[in-house]
């Protein structure tokens, strides 16, 4: 729940000034730390000494939301993807099992949020953000498409569906950048510039 609120807060960054941006990012980062401490640390200590896979299903959805929020924050702060081993696992209590699929599903949901970010930015005449989001998402999609979408029983069944949703998100951002491009041409009325990503 709190993760959802954090994501909502992060969306305010679109179209904001640099100082506001910094303020929001700092605030979210602190709230994230608090959230991890208050909710995840107890879970991790409860599970000490147990087989981590046994209870995974109980906290997996919440964990995915959290990863979505963390990666969103990272993208807004640095433009990079928060990695599983370096970034995510470092910030979370070490006893807590974060499987590759929790990470992947969280990242898939991230693509939806980034799509919303790009669309909102375009509506506020921010041309830079959609382009950065597009480059990031296309790379991300390319990588996610190499992951097999079927497997043993603990493979999430909704991965294929999320991948399809990600494709549609990417297509929406592509359309937005395309329309921006056309608008730029109309306004400047010069030869189409080559935009390299």
């Amino acid at each position: 729940m709190e993760s959802k609120r954090l994501i909502f807060t992060l969306h305010r960054v679109a179209g904001a000034s640099d100082e506001e941006r910094l303020a929001v990012l700092t605030e979210v980062s602190q709230r994230l730390d608090k959230l991890i401490a208050s909710k995840l640390l107890p879970i991790s200590s409860e599970l000490t000494g147990q087989d981590p896979w046994e209870y995974r299903r109980a906290y997996s959805p919440g964990l995915q939301e959290l990863i979505e929020a963390m990666t969103f924050l990272e993208f807004l702060s640095t433009g990079r993807l928060l990695s599983l081993s370096g970034g995510v696992r470092d910030r979370l209590p070490s006893g807590l099992l974060v499987s590759q699929f929790d990470y992947l599903l969280g990242v898939c949901d991230l693509s939806g949020e980034l799509m919303r970010l790009a669309l909102n930015a375009a509506a506020k005449a921010d041309f830079d953000t959609p382009e950065r989001v597009l480059a990031f998402l296309q790379k991300l999609l390319g990588c996610c498409e190499t992951v097999p979408d079927r497997g043993p029983d603990w493979f999430p069944k909704d991965f294929a569906g999320k991948l399809e949703t990600m494709r549609q998100s990417v297509e929406k951002v592509e359309t937005v950048c395309y329309q921006q491009c056309l608008r730029c041409i109309e306004e400047s009325n010069i030869q189409l510039p080559v935009v390299t990503h």
Binding site: L134, A135, Q138, G142, E145, T146, P148, E171, E174, T175, C177, Y178, C181, L182, I185, E186, L192, P193, V194, V195, T196, H197
Partner: protein, 231 residues
Amino acid sequence: AAPATDSNATGIEAEFQLYLNQLAADLATVESVKATAAELTKLAQLPLQALRCIHRSCDSNSISKAIDEARAALQPSIDLLAKLGQQMPAGTYYKYHQLWREPVQQLCMAVTFISFLESDRLLSLEDAASQLGMAGDSDGGGGSTLHLDLEDYLFGLLLLASELARLSVNAVTAGRPDLPRRVADFSRHLEAGFRLLNFKNDALRRRYDGLKYDMRKIEEVLYDVTVRKLE
């Protein structure tokens, strides 16, 4: 009426033992085919991954590079297809067909995509099959050898159409306003061809229904480009 004798009962058991043996052999084949098919599914992604870089940068150099990488990435899949052909006993092509349809369709899409990018040509089924090391569809042998099924080829073409629709949009963003016309000309011929076909009510038909949305996107992009005289 004579009572059931022991020999009758043993006869039935023997029959069933025969079935069980055949089933076990069959399951063993299925397992090995499945394993190869899973490997093929993984490998079949690679040529597409190479080609999809075009959506980000589609100047001629990038396209040539992508094609070269894709061709190199095709070879492992082709080798694996050959292995697949050997794993299935003769005359059982369609028995295991469902297990590896998807990667074959994607490979079809990859080779037809390359053919479009290089020469704006629609690769025929025969040519596509030979590029993938398979026999063409109506191969006389009653479909017993590893061949490219017509429906898989058609499915691959429909996948290509969606990819081209996406390319149209990204080509403009990436500074190639000449591509949408090439895509449109190619796709119109493709669509005209498909309209000649009579479909059963199956997955191919449903996929074909999506073609009109791809066509609409392609035509809209072409319109946007033409009306602004961008070509």
